[in-house]
Symmetry: C2
Subunit: 108 residues, 2 copies
DNA sequence: CAGATATATATCCAATTGGATATATTATAG
DNA sequence: CTATAATATATCCAATTGGATATATATCTG
């Protein structure tokens, strides 16, 4: 797992950008406006997201459209799966325990 | 989603700690040794992880055992699910496309 | 071509951060 | 109680970071 992904998402404005771009591509100006920040700040944060591979941009006339890239998030998802395994195991044990208790209840 | 979780995982040593603790609880000394770092550094990083809720500790004799907490990772997992939906939709469309191509192939 | 619009970049600054070292704290052993 | 082992904390330092402002660059409009 790449720490750059976590680093990029560790800043509230950038996390907001990623969540915002989930709805679809946006221009820098739109992003800056919707997140209530200055344009240079938005560009700077988008640069960080872009370096981390979380977004990509393409020119559109006067503007520049940014959109999400899925790869880093998919990588995160795969990384998490190792942990998911362990907490699902716990839930399974809980299920087993509850089932056992149910069984006893019926017998008594 | 809490940026503190991402912030805590944005540092390679701390990411390593979390992955290490996946195998089970460890003392500070063990963690420091396995990650080849000094004890004060390990304590400092563990503090950050603890503040982010990613680990918890309990005293054991002379030592202090650290273990993973699942909640922040589960929260990450839920946060990711919103994105998972969109990329699974893409895969579905790809499947549909492939199926359609298969169908045409058979007809011709 | 001239002005306007959108974006990127450069610079300055204060705050945060990670590493290293020294020291304080707590518990165990003898 | 004293010495030791394990850990936490304090301090110093260099590097990084986010915000703000100014400026450069590129594209569109007329």
């Amino acid at each position: 797992m790449n720490t750059a992904t976590f680093g990029a998402l560790a800043e509230p404005h950038r996390l907001g950008m990623v969540e915002l771009l989930r709805e679809g591509p946006l221009s820098v100006g739109d992003i800056a406006e919707r997140l209530a920040m200055g344009q240079p700040q938005a560009s700077k944060h988008l640069r960080v997201l872009s370096d981390a591979g979380l977004v990509e941009s393409q020119p559109a006339a006067n503007k520049r459209m940014y959109k999400l890239r899925q790869e880093p998030l998919q990588e995160m998802d795969e990384w998490l799966s190792a942990f998911r395994a362990s907490w699902e195991a716990r839930l399974d044990r809980l299920d087993a325990l509850l089932a056992e208790l149910q069984g006893k209840e019926r017998k008594e």
